[in-house]
Symmetry: C2
Subunit: 371 residues, 2 copies
């Protein structure tokens, strides 16, 4: 890892070394409040997704703003958050492999832990590990409600798996995972609404089929930053798994807002400096692929007209400089990352600023927790 930190609390923002991952605390806190307000009185709870931030300080603030727990994607992430005192973690993923399942069950001795299943073999492995650990595990059936990735088909296949879980003490059948990932970035509001209407219908029908077999469905969970208002209003979903709302990356920022959508604002930036400006039409910054993930598009230059980020190499970002725009060597800029989750995963530290001052440096404690 880097032998140096990009900043220390109390530093002026101008002194932050580059490239650094920067959180604008005022904007971030407004995003936390906007989510809390959007869910107030709805009867639907937030279970914030921590894969976006991997940072225990943020998880604690989400809990303080009403989240009932967090989601993770990896057992290693879950361990970091349990170690940090988060009492309720759902691993929104299938966990496969003897070592991982054993570790998952051991975590369940220290916190409430949930996990997904979409195959009978997983349920058998979870049950054996939970018994060996002397722990209870919440197990959700993942239903493919349109994402086309993991998950059993809605209806009878989900019913069979739910019944298997309910019969596999010390597992608890906890409900249905009905996440529609691709719907999050449909650009038009009516497209997102239609996708979630369809997902909701499949979730409802599956729930009803399970209830008809005499088994209660404690909760239905899903949703992300792009669609959560629809799951909130569905009458079917109980918990929402939005994560990116705390940061708002460029990809989410490119969604067209619908009438009922919540206006989050960009709070996460890559601070970068111009290291080369050898021709008038081109400048090169010190933030490339290893400083801002480009899987969902290039980063956008923030509030600096006349500059566009046009190409990323490992450690270089090339900016096109419009005619009439001047740039200074060493000048610092902010970039809005294309995709927050894999960008956060590149950094050890989140430099938290308020106004012109660095207020805190938060460890990204679950960075690289791949197992």
């Amino acid at each position: 890892m880097s032998p140096w930190k990009p900043a220390r609390p109390g530093d002026p923002v101008a002194a932050i070394d580059t490239p650094a991952l920067v959180l604008d605390l005022d904007a971030f806190e407004r995003n936390l409040r906007r989510m809390a307000q959007a869910l107030a009185g709805s009867g639907v709870r937030l279970r914030a997704h921590a894969k976006s931030h991997k940072c225990p300080e943020i998880a604690r603030l989400q809990m303080a703003h009403g989240a009932v727990g967090i989601c993770c994607q990896k057992v290693g992430e879950a361990a970091v958050f349990v170690d940090a005192g988060i009492p309720d973690v759902l691993v929104t993923n299938q966990v496969v492999g003897e070592a991982k399942v054993r570790r998952l069950a051991q975590l369940a001795r220290r916190a409430r832990i949930g996990v997904l299943a979409d195959h009978p073999e997983q349920v058998r492995a979870y049950a054996a590990a939970a018994r060996a650990a002397g722990a209870e595990l919440d197990v959700y059936v993942e239903v493919d409600v349109g994402a086309g990735r993991c998950g059993v088909a809605p209806g009878e296949e989900a019913v069979r798996l739910a019944l298997q879980i309910a019969d596999s003490a010390p597992l608890r059948f906890a409900g249905l995972q009905c996440y529609h990932g691709p719907a999050q970035h449909l650009r038009q509001p009516h497209e997102r609404q239609a996708a979630i209407a369809s997902a909701t219908a499949l979730a409802r029908a599956t729930r009803d089929a399970i209830v008809a077999r005499g088994l209660e469905v404690p909760r239905i969970t899903g949703a992300g930053t792009g669609t959560f208002v629809h799951e909130r209003d569905s009458g079917v979903f109980d918990e929402l798994q939005a994560g990116s709302y705390v940061f708002l990356d460029a990809d989410y920022g490119a969604n067209e807002a619908g009438a009922g959508d919540v206006a989050f604002e960009h709070a996460l930036f890559v601070r970068t400096a111009v290291l080369s400006h050898a021709t008038p039409t081109r400048a090169v910054v010190d933030a490339g692929l290893k400083a801002s993930s480009v899987d969902s598009g290039l980063p956008r230059v923030w509030q600096r007209p006349g500059l566009r980020y046009v190409k990323a190499a490992d450690e270089h970002g090339t900016l096109a400089v419009d005619e009439g725009t001047t740039v200074a060597l060493g000048e610092t800029l902010l970039l809005v990352p294309g995709h927050c989750d894999p960008t956060v995963n590149l950094y050890d530290d989140l430099v938290c600023i308020r106004g012109d001052v660095v207020e805190a440096v938060w460890p990204i404690a679950a960075r690289g927790a791949l197992l």
Copy 2:
């Protein structure tokens, strides 16, 4: 970081946890020898690029196979390698910002350190920092020989900068950086050859223009894994900066080989496991965007016909399963990453295997060294 390691020395390969970054030591060592053989007797030296591997153990083996030193892109990377005992490091980048330049100059008290310039301001800053540190610095003029990123124009602009460096003790004018990045991945051999012929002509003309002003040009450095045979044979280049040759990623593997090219082999893999297989035509593995960078294309499934990696999400990779191919839940696969450099940067450890046994686990010590 991950609370657990994916493997320990002595473990069977079958016990490596997933996802893990795996180095096939036999293939890797063959690649080291192939490069040494390709340069033997040429009078051209390897200065291996360590941005690809960020791993001191690999740098030491490159030196043992004849490399005269290494390249880095960041001062923080250089510090990791100097700390590890590498005596000669060239930062193939412009370094801008008071803290970074000061650290660079301080490193130059402990090792031979080089750096690039493409602007007079950088030269003034390097000189002031070197004087303050009581250190000497090798400074190269970066010349844009076709890459269109950093670098002054060939000819008179480079001459002026070289003369400025030579007049700025304790800086040493060390030569010309003439790297043609985009040429590395031109798919056809004749395209790569033509691009380097053009770069060579520009490098030669610039060198001759500097020599005509009475200044020696100690060395001309550049090249990468895709083109180094042409720089080797150019009669102009003295040092070669190939890095990816130790691993050979899928993007380099997609280059058509020319008559004189050296056949490196894939030595770097992401070991991954199937975590979901809910439909016959689809399987999902535990290596997504945070386990294999997709900026240069998706990873390729290695030696497992009938499976194709078709989509990456944060923590999921979706495989298309051909008709007639069977896959088991929990089955492990190897992926060849699309782009080795940013993929290596996602991991803390490199699991080194020989045959069926884990021989070593090498820290990727400069992972995340962004500053």
